[in-house]
Subunit: 369 residues, 2 copies
């Protein structure tokens, strides 16, 4: 490898196996620190594992810190990236730019503190500290090592007005509110009010499954801004319902197990549904059928959960003769980082939920003294 | 079980395990022949395994007829339905109505020869002949036994003017041309021509990945009818390219391995792309990245393949910062059966491809004398 060889903006030159696939689909990446001319190397400070991956790791290892650390280190050592082999998902990271290749189009300079907006599942990564500072209880993982950005990767300089762990948590799920905003905005623009129960005000009814979580709370706030007539927040427990009520992000808060299709649909219908737009933000498998049944004919389901099964969604909708549009939640929508950060800045309810979530893992995921 | 107990139109009363899920998501269904009041029992004549399931079964068993028969019979005996445990997918069936419950809303009467339009993955099924007449080489499986339709299942009486195996093959993939038609029609209506290379005529550029197959050829014909300016058909081999050329369903025919993202994107771009709408109709895993790269910013990818990975699509698009809308191909769109049958009736190119495909398994899947 020399700095004069041309690289691929997609990072194809970093794919070790299997040959010819994109970095996201690869089993193993070349994570060496020396750069191709259009790459950037980042000194990693913190990883943010995606929710589905974190849950899988905790359940598979039992959750002990040492086992969690060992498992993540093993995956990264083997694959050259943090892509959970079971869920296929990754997360993102924050760090400081160490070196930017002369042909990098990203506009980054050494010393910039940034967050990556592409998944860890395609980002070459080396961990050098064994994750010694991670307590295993938070999705946020203090980490030393380096990561590589490609020419077509996206990254954003961290905002100066928000704490780093908070910004990281927000940026990790920035695609969800952006796509929700787009879909709800189109539904609101398309003329008559979306389907809603008696008394539903103008504007489409939007159901957010998992509205108390990170992507869920942001999506609820984004839906309201985009013109939703009624936002129905679905949560799994009384405790989450109380928190969501207090945050004021939903017009109706209902409790249901998203894996129970009949209960989920009944809860949404009872709260003013069916929904014109249903947004699935929970990180457990088996929510496809309920989401479809909660949605009106002609409506749209957006699946953001990495635990979504393509087949279950496709055949589930067909199986109940539901004419719903089902979207795979693309994590990239232009302007998504700014939109998500603005929501956290301007919506105290969203900010409160995020701060509580970020602090859940004691001391932001660091081991206790 | 008595005929007076109320059933669920979704078939929840037939779910044996796990409790509370929809029949599609269930591991095991109750496939007993006695009916709830809103059910219909069908004497099965023929199963049509979906392409991803058939391929998986053939690869797992080696393809010998006895092994294929044993494997399908084992799945159905264990699960009470034909849902491939690896792919999660099913297929559909044809047969003759034996009995319709007094409260069935489907409008079927004993003696009607029908095709089910809901997946086998949620249809209670019993096989009584050991599939003795199946040669294991065709997706179409001559079969004796019974199947159950729920109140909300959909079925259609087979057309009198088309051979049964042909109609079955068409109806199996009827969702694909219907959804393609809707998406291409909207793209065509939305004002200026979709993105296309120099010289692209008005109307969106549509790429059909796997245009020589069943869902692919129907989708190509549907795209053209819906206003596509240019239809690019992608096939894996010279032989399929020649067949597709002869059928006249695509303006451009290109050869590429859909699992090679760079090659696939280059082929589509070279033929007048990127596409405003890309339709994925191939039954092999690993086509997500190439489909995204073949699509213009602001465009749409429709995934019909049951081999699609939700995570690979979501993270793949994010990983290359592609602002594309990604749809899970819903097998149900109102009017889909009529639209698909009309295409086969009116488009000799589509009909020729289907007839060749149906006859591929010698004597329509029957064992040779």
């Amino acid at each position: 490898m020399t700095a004069s060889e041309p690289g691929s903006p997609l990072g194809l030159h970093r794919v070790l196996a299997p040959a010819g696939v994109l970095p996201q689909a690869a089993w193993q990446l070349d994570s060496r620190p020396s750069l191709w001319p259009d790459e950037v190397r980042v000194a990693v400070e913190r990883l943010n594992l995606d929710a589905a991956s974190f849950r899988q790791l905790r359940e598979a290892t039992g959750g002990a810190a040492a086992d969690m650390r060992a498992e993540v280190c093993k995956i990264v050592a083997e694959r050259g990236k943090m892509q959970n082999p079971v869920t296929g998902s990754g997360g993102m990271l924050t760090g400081v730019v160490e070196e930017a290749g002369p042909e990098s189009p990203l506009g980054l300079a050494p010393g910039d503190r940034i967050a990556t907006l592409v998944s860890l599942s395609l980002t070459p990564l080396v961990i050098t500290d064994g994750l010694a500072d991670w307590n295993g209880r938070s999705e946020q993982v203090p980490c030393q090592g380096h990561a590589i950005l490609f020419g077509r990767s996206i990254a954003t300089v961290l905002p100066a007005d928000l704490p780093g762990p908070l910004a990281l948590a927000v940026l990790d799920v920035a695609g969800a509110p952006a796509l929700t905003s787009r879909v709800v905005g189109r539904a609101a623009d398309s003329g008559p009010a979306g389907p809603g129960g008696p008394g539903a005000p103008d504007g489409p009814v939007v159901a957010i499954i998992g509205a108390g979580g990170k992507s869920g709370s942001l999506s609820a706030a984004a839906a309201r801004r985009a013109g939703a007539g009624r936002v129905i927040g679905v949560v799994p427990s009384e405790a989450e319902a109380a928190t969501l009520h207090a945050a004021g992000l939903a017009d109706e808060v209902v409790i249901a197990d998203a894996r129970d299709p009949v209960a989920l649909a009944a809860a949404v219908h009872g709260a003013g549904g069916p929904a014109a737009v249903t947004v699935v933000c929970v990180d457990v498998p088996g929510c496809e059928g309920g989401a479809v049944l909660a949605t009106a004919d002609g409506g749209t389901v957006i699946f953001f959960s990495m635990a979504t099964s393509f087949t279950a969604a496709a055949l589930g909708a067909e199986g109940v003769a539901a004419d719903v549009t089902m979207l795979i939640g693309n994590g990239y929508v232009p302007g998504h980082a700014r939109l998500a950060l603005d929501l956290v800045r301007c919506e105290p309810g969203v900010r409160g939920l995020f701060e509580a979530r970020v602090n859940e893992g004691t001391r932001d995921g660091k081991v206790e003294a």
